[in-house]
């Protein structure tokens, strides 16, 4: 099982103690928040969904899939049919979790009318052909061989709800570690321990999610003892309080990739030499120190540091302005002017843009920073512009590639479209052997390292603050993985 992730990095030691109420402050989505797990998109939504529901699988610290409601999975040799067995688990209303519930949930997600976020992740599955073999076995039929199918089971938002459940926003019934007591959108959600939880009942009696959009409000509430857990703190705040004893700072490494995305299909970045020049312009440490306030590590133009299959054998790139300049000259782009799109949509974006602008000036490149509105930023930069700030939460490298780097990827922000690259990916998905697959992923990554569109300059820490009495908070799990905001393993000392 994948439930042992907490054993290593629990914050503070001692034997877990039952009881108590934990209040956790998150940035929220206002009165538009929802309890429907399939609609979850904010961290607060996900944290609530995680407490109320389960997925069949979830990501471990290295972003490989770990079984959850699924007790095991097994592929047919062709890798296009997967048999998934469910463990014995019950919904909050006492009904057992069955194969029919799984199929209902996935069909609901895939329903075009719902426009749910996880629909894209479930795309490989042919849900019409998939069926319930028995009450606790599902056979998934895939549209093509998919070696990383368990990642689909673990994908963001693929929660299992009871068959026929409709009014998930008001009366959520899940199989998760907590049951809902009350919910006021944009303000609070109170949950109580589910004593019958299959993975062992939580230690906490009660869990309350509170919404505080402003970071300083979360910190103040934590310092003032109004909450015991504050999600998403600033690096500067962390530095101010780290080691002072008043609150505990938990840094979740490698949680967010920070990058500049170059559109490889248009000038000037359609020339690989220009892309390479840009790779050499970036002083990654300066970016991490300046834009992330030091809370992170430098990147190497590849996604997924710390993940399974990550190509960490490639040499770390460093700034080399002379080389960059000559590359640009070669490409006939010595007096290059580019516009860098940024926005306050994510922490560090505008800062990184400013810093990069100054670095680029060193190589004779004029970068004009254009600050756009944050609400439509992602849609705006998907197709327009040439260079933009980019970030991504943790996900398996395979998902990153399938979502962003294939010709038919839906969010291909670098417009990376190469038939041979697509073929490599498909080949990897059809390869059952892990090592062979790793080699294939290595080839793909080397290609990206040499001439890809993502200038990945860093990986930001995810910073969480807790009261000293809070124990059992995992310190290694990147955001979006199983052990992140996992309150069933947390206890109050």
């Amino acid at each position: 099982g994948g439930s042992r992730g907490d054993s290593g990095g629990a914050s503070g030691g001692g034997t877990p103690r039952r009881g108590g109420r934990l209040r956790a402050a998150f940035a929220g989505g206002g009165a538009g928040e929802t309890l429907d797990p399939h609609r979850a998109s904010l961290f607060a939504d996900v944290a609530r969904a995680k407490a109320l529901y389960d997925k069949l699988a979830d990501y471990g610290d290295d972003l490989s899939a770990r079984p959850r409601l699924a007790s095991s999975w097994e592929a047919r040799p062709g890798l296009d049919r997967w048999k998934v067995s469910l463990r014995r688990a019950e919904f909050h209303d006492g009904r057992p979790v069955t194969a029919r519930d799984v199929l209902y949930s996935y069909r609901r997600i895939a329903d075009p009318a719902g426009a749910f976020r996880a629909k894209a992740s479930l795309e490989p599955v042919d849900l019409d052909a998939s069926r319930a073999v028995d009450a606790r076995t599902v056979e998934f039929v895939l549209k093509r061989p998919t070696a990383e199918f368990p990642n689909v089971l673990a994908s963001f938002g693929a929660y299992i709800v009871p068959e026929g459940a409709r009014d998930l926003d008001r009366a959520p019934v899940g199989s998760g570690p907590f049951r809902l007591v009350s919910f006021a959108p944009g303000r609070t959600a109170v949950l109580r321990r589910n004593d019958d939880y299959w993975d062992g009942a939580p230690y906490l009696d009660e869990l309350e999610f509170l919404v505080a959009d402003e970071e300083s409000a979360r910190v103040n509430a934590l310092l003032g003892g109004q909450v015991e857990y504050a999600h998403e703190l600033n690096p500067a705040t962390a530095r101010a309080h780290e080691g002072r004893g008043r609150i505990e700072i938990v840094r979740l490494r490698n949680s967010a990739m920070q990058a500049f995305a170059m559109k490889t299909d248009r000038a000037p970045f359609d020339d690989p030499r220009v892309r390479r020049a840009f790779f050499l312009i970036a002083d990654r440490q300066e970016l991490v120190d300046g834009a992330l306030s030091g809370a992170g590590v430098v990147g190497n133009d590849l996604f997924g540091k710390g993940c399974e299959f990550y190509a960490d054998d490639l040499p770390q790139r460093t700034q080399d302005l002379d080389r960059a300049r000559s590359l640009l000259e070669e490409a006939g782009a010595s007096d290059l002017r580019v516009t860098l799109d940024t926005s306050s949509v994510a922490a560090g974006f505008t800062e990184a843009a400013g810093i990069f602008r100054d670095q680029a000036a060193g190589a004779g490149v004029t970068v004009e920073v254009r600050t756009g509105g944050k609400d439509s930023y992602w849609a705006d930069v998907l197709d327009s512009g040439t260079l933009c700030c980019y970030r991504s939460g943790a996900m398996p490298i395979e998902s990153h590639i399938s979502q962003r780097l294939l010709t038919d990827s839906t969010t291909n922000a670098t417009k990376w479209a190469h038939k041979d690259f697509d073929a490599l990916y498909r080949q990897a998905q059809a390869t059952k052997d892990d090592e062979e697959r790793a080699a294939l992923f290595g080839r793909m990554q080397r290609r990206l390292y040499a001439e890809g569109g993502f200038l990945v300059w860093g990986f930001a820490d995810w910073i969480i603050g807790t009261a000293p009495s809070v124990r059992g908070v995992d310190r290694k799990a990147p955001a979006n993985t199983l052990d992140w905001v996992r309150f069933d393993k947390v206890w109050l000392a």
Binding site: G224, G372, T410
Partner: protein, 317 residues
């Protein structure tokens, strides 16, 4: 007074037109913003197919005027429509957020008026002496301190260092009255700048009034000092101060975003922020109705006061 009556009636009628204009304007502005609810909901997964599906689900593919007409048709029934983001009725958004906003506004205005007026009168009374200099310098200084800085300072000192007051109202939801201590700091932060601007306007008006022959006459005739100041000089300073006060109340009711965020008070400002971010047009429109009505009523009130304190205007040739 029939003149005044018809004036008020006309203004109220105009007020309805104004509110309609506000709603139209806000609708237009929100529509003109790049992106729509579907894009906003898609967030960092701007999958075009999904956005299209969302658009269809939210009926955003219909022309703007049709959607507006639909929404407007519901108004007479008191139906403000449903949120695009959550599908919940807009009225529930408004009713939930109006309480905290109203409470904060009321709690701020109650001490604001005596404090602002009192300081202004005090400064004017001791014009150019140390009291005035102190009041002027402090009010100006405080005014120049941004809200967040003041908030952080107050929270650090009174909540985190001294532990006298809770640092935020997190978790109290709409039941703020049940936790009066949590309201002290937000109200102080909200008060700080309006007190300064109000007191400066009052001071300015009072200095002229206190130097006037009619105040000298009242003094000479042995009217108690306080009464001279408040009943005879102050009315001359009231008109601009009333405007300022109306603006302040308007601001308090229509979005004290920083303070709401800093102290986690779920008021109208927060709802507006979220709704705009989500391009939740029906909610924004509902808010526009509230803001329009509030502004119209407050401006009318301020104009009535100004009218009363410039009685001679009625005879202007």
């Amino acid at each position: 007074m029939s003149g005044l009556g018809s004036w008020v009636a006309r203004r109220l009628l105009l007020g309805c037109v104004q509110t309609v204009a506000v709603v139209l304007l806000v609708f237009g502005l929100t529509e003109a913003l790049p992106g729509d609810a579907a894009v906003a909901l898609a967030g960092d997964q701007p999958d075009p197919a999904r956005i299209a599906a969302l658009r269809e689900a939210m009926e955003l593919d219909r022309p703007a005027h049709e959607r507006f007409a639909d929404w407007a048709a519901g108004l007479p029934r008191g139906d403000l429509g449903h949120s695009l983001a959550s599908g919940r009725p807009v009225s529930s958004y408004l009713s939930g957020a109006f309480g905290p906003s109203l409470l904060l506004a009321a709690l701020t205005v109650v001490p604001l008026v005596p404090l602002g007026v009192g300081l202004g009168v005090l400064a004017a009374r001791f014009e150019d002496r140390w009291v005035d200099r102190l009041v002027s310098a402090v009010t100006l200084g405080v005014y120049a301190v941004p809200e967040f800085a003041l908030g952080v300072l107050l929270v650090t000192v009174f909540a985190l260092r001294l532990d006298w007051l809770p640092p935020t109202a997190v978790g109290y939801g709409t039941d703020l009255l049940g936790h009066p201590a949590a309201l002290v700091l937000p109200v102080l932060v909200l008060l700080a700048r309006p007190v300064c601007s109000l007191s400066r306007l009052v001071r300015a008006g009072m200095i002229d009034a206190l130097a006037s022959p009619y105040v000298a006459q009242a003094r000479r005739y042995g009217i108690p000092d306080a009464r001279v100041r408040y009943a005879h000089a102050l009315p001359n300073a009231v008109a601009p101060a009333a405007q300022q006060l109306a603006r302040t109340v308007d601001w308090l009711l229509c979005g004290v975003i920083v303070v709401e965020a800093l102290f986690v008070i779920p008021g109208l400002g927060t709802v507006l922020m979220d709704a705009v971010a989500e391009r939740d047009v029906p909610v924004v429109q509902g808010l526009a109705v509230v803001f329009g009505v509030v502004t119209v009523v407050l401006n009318l009130g301020a104009d009535l006061v100004a009218h009363r304190f410039a009685p001679r205007t009625e005879v202007a040739a």
